[in-house]
Symmetry: C2
Subunit: 258 residues, 2 copies
């Protein structure tokens, strides 16, 4: 049901409820323009003894800012919460330089990622004809220490969320990276071996393209993972055709087989 | 199938394939440590007339860097591609200051988001006992101009991807924001109205908590959306109980109903 409010149903609506929760942006104002009648409604509901709350996801103003804003438009709203920091003013959107000649946005690992870069990428992607590519969607980089290094996938997630568009992802395990070398060198997938250490990128990449896949245990995957894999019944895409302790062992076996 | 490579099957494996694709990190090296036998294998396969490709998602080195690296370890790899920029050295992970007293990571809209902040958040979140909160998951902020302003949801997407953890999201349409005011003010959901302009946050928020929901058409949603909603059969979570042109009209109807 989605019923229009009319003079027929408004009284019972008001009588049946004691609390009214309002979103602010787009409901009470499109700042600096206050929606006509907004203050009337708030004061009216207050006069009728209703409780009023304002629930906004806009965390760029402090409680004091909101209290002042309501006072300015003629409604006395009490505040009750800790303050949240405000720095939305730091971005002057009318000063953002955008180039209408852009035909492609490529999201990659970027140690200098910033809000302004994500804003520019998402804005260019508003035009449907702009191509959206991601170098890869690795969530993090392999490191040997205690630090989680965000990967290209973390940057890409931000651009994807802000733009509402889905990228074509070039890197493993996705198809484009295979197509480039297949076309360039006329490769036959059934005669090609993919050797890798990571199930969800390397092995999935090879399996997705119909290559023969070899897992080595010198990197991201160890022997106990392999044992788990052997018992796995459901998702076959990450299961290698072969595994071996490392490339050194493979070299030795090839040498010995002559 | 996931077969171990042995002296029994290695010959047919090599004979049946003409191309070998290698991932690098964790397969040929865990830099600066070269995997024993890696160069042997590459040279052996080359001697056997096999084509070799290196396919890595690690875009932080140039083609020249890789060519030099292969030459240094004793394999002559040709390069064939444009260069990609390299700036991974910009982050010295051993200089990142992490505080083991941190018990909660809160991801919010941050106009100063950076790689280092995402890295720190994801690293803290490696400890399972650290709470992961998001203020909200709004993908973008409402703006009147041509620019897409990324919302807290874009920042949160980066932290979620890098950490591999799912946050508890505080803002609309999620439950925590309701629980706070319900508990503080002892609200009765069946006697509470939520007024909002956005279906996926405001209206879903109210519906999720069992409130009566009123959609106004002064913000993110217009009359044609409402007509689409009325015909929508599947997802009911975003359909308001009532709609009205704006709060001014609601004030007027309430006034007139006295």
């Amino acid at each position: 049901m989605c019923e229009q409010i009319t003079d027929k149903n408004v009284s019972s609506l008001v009588e049946k409820h004691d609390t009214f929760i309002f979103d602010c942006d787009g409901v009470l104002w499109n700042w600096p323009h206050v929606i006509p009648g907004a203050v009337d409604l708030l004061n009216k509901l207050t006069a009728l003894g209703k409780q009023i709350f304002f629930v906004t996801n806009n965390s760029t103003k402090t409680q004091d800012d909101y209290a002042k804003r309501f006072a300015d438009i003629g409604f006395n709203a009490a505040k009750k919460a800790d303050q949240v920091p405000s720095d939305l003013q730091a971005i002057k959107t009318d000063e953002v330089q955008l180039d209408s000649d852009i035909t492609c946005v490529i999201s990659a690992l970027d140690l200098h990622m910033s809000y302004l870069k994500v804003l520019k990428a998402a804005t260019h992607l508003k035009r449907k004809e702009v191509l959206f590519l991601g170098t890869n969607d690795d969530a993090s980089l392999p490191t040997n220490d205690e630090v989680v290094m965000p990967g290209a996938g973390a940057v890409l997630a931000a651009v994807t969320a802000a733009s509402g568009r889905l990228p074509t992802i070039l890197g493993k395990p996705h198809t484009p990276m295979w197509k480039v070398i297949q076309d360039e060198f006329n490769l036959n997938p059934t005669k090609t071996v993919m050797v890798g250490d990571r199930l969800e990128t390397d092995i999935a990449f090879g399996n997705n393209q119909g290559l023969t896949t070899i897992l080595v245990l010198t990197g991201a995957t160890n022997e106990s993972h392999v044992n788990e894999l052997k018992e796995q019944k459901t998702d076959k895409s990450n299961i290698p055709n072969f595994y071996i302790s490392g490339v050194g062992k493979l070299a030795q076996l090839i040498n010995d087989s002559k």
